[in-house]
Symmetry: C2
Subunit: 295 residues, 2 copies
């Protein structure tokens, strides 16, 4: 445990993940664009770096956790990016949720520089990040995965090596496809109950006991009943992820009509200035459309 | 336990349900349109009746379990129907999946004849019917529900009194809305994985460990991976149920775009002569569209 671990991106997700690594006894070299994000890590002994390249020079294994495809490209390939300092045989682990095809392109660039990349997006939100209970979906070579596995085990609980480069991102995209449609399904069920004069809470209770049972009916169904959309996982981030899904579908020539339709409700939420609500607020849009939101 | 219980409709669902009542020690008066359906019940001591009216004359509590709205209307209101023989204070329990509004209309007619109606559609399929583990969603007056509850407990495990007349049917409609969309979501996730060159089995495994977890991902996801669509619950019946959902949406002035879209895949399945497959075969239609079904 003598090697320094790198961590770039210390926002709502990255910060608790990095803190868990420190709690587990690892020495961290960290970088973040904003000074405010850095501070809580420095207080517990992490060493600040002025650039992603400097992190890469100091750490044979480093993590990136930023917002979107261009952010990861900037951190890895940009000026003073990881690629300018990366060690031979280093492993660069991107835990952001971004494009699978952009991931494969970056993995090639890093491979040409003598390093390996893993894509390892997560689900579980900031609560799972703080609890160290994230689901982690990993793409990339097996040897690199095995080297990083002990670190994944500090940050998460369900760690699956899905396949080669990009497979983690594809798996996350599949997750978002299914989550978005299940939310829309729960929402329509609640809507139909209420419009029919039937108590949606009773309907949820009955459905939880049967084949329609899901975590989403349980957790998001409750959010819809209570009209309480404190995130959780924001509509803004879910919308971003669905853009990645639909871009992938476009590239692949794949019809995903259910995903495309669910994404429209997220668009409407963002258009109404409600992007910071939990994405279960799809139900608020469907309810508003039918005048069910006034009571 | 001296009263005779009536049971009308002894098909793939009704037969095992009626058999469970006999096993529990109840005396049954039964009617079915087809002699072949009647035979297994007569062998274990059920008493045959020549018409629904005759069942109603003999049984203060009687069940109907037939296919669709017109079938229930025929059994209850038609010539030699239940209403012609129904006892004062009888409870007529319709366990078919039919229109909520037609249910309310029949409940009114029975009420005018001095009897009560419960709507009590089920989920769990013929396997749940045989095992006595059905989910039963009940609408109607509380007193009638309490009288019938011991009989429900013989046939099912999750028994929820959802609300007044029609509420059971509304709840079942909500169930089918959610199940159809979740199937479509699982299918699109599998499709995206495969088109991206990623093993859908690994994706399912990863997703089962996270927030996207559901019974449908577990059970129907496996069906999709194995391309094995032995029912379960047939596409034909799910299509019928979605027609009921969309008719209710039409009556209510309710937009259910996700349910409407999922129903289209069921239409395609029926159009391809595949109505006897499990409704998870929505995935076969989506795969066929993308040439993924040839391998």
């Amino acid at each position: 445990m003598t090697d320094t671990i790198g961590f770039i991106g210390l926002g709502i997700m990255g910060r608790p993940m990095a803190l868990n690594l420190i709690k587990a006894g690892y020495r961290l070299a960290v970088h973040a664009r904003r000074e405010a994000s850095l501070q809580p890590l420095l207080e517990v002994g992490a060493e600040p770096c002025s650039s992603p390249a400097e992190v890469a020079r100091r750490a044979p294994i480093l993590f990136t956790m930023v917002s979107d495809t261009p952010d990861v490209e900037q951190v890895i390939l940009g000026e003073q990016g990881v690629i300018e300092g990366v060690q031979t045989d280093a492993v660069v682990v991107d835990m952001s949720t971004i494009s699978p095809s952009a991931t494969r392109a970056m993995a090639e660039r890093l491979h040409a520089a003598g390093a390996e990349m893993l894509d390892a997006p997560v689900s579980g939100g900031d609560i799972g990040a703080a609890a160290g209970s994230l689901s982690i979906m990993v793409g990339g070579p097996t040897a690199a995965f095995e080297r990083v596995r002990p670190l994944f085990q500090v940050m998460g609980e369900n760690i699956v090596h899905v396949g080669d480069h990009g497979a983690g991102q594809v798996c996350k995209a599949c997750n978002q496809v299914l989550v978005a449609q299940t939310i829309a399904g729960v929402s329509e069920a609640m809507l139909l109950a209420k419009a029919s004069g039937v108590d949606p809470a009773k309907v949820r209770e009955a459905l939880l006991g049967g084949f329609a049972n899901s975590r989403i009916l349980e957790v998001h169904g409750r959010r819809m009943l209570e009209d309480d959309y404190a995130p959780g996982f924001t509509a803004r981030l879910h919308q971003k992820d669905m853009r990645i899904v639909l871009e992938a579908a476009h590239e692949l020539g794949l019809a995903l009509p259910g995903a495309a339709q669910a994404a429209q409700w997220l668009n409407a939420l963002l258009g109404q200035g409600l992007g910071d609500l939990d994405s279960a607020a799809i139900h608020r849009m469907q309810a508003r459309l039918h005048g069910q939101d006034g009571d």
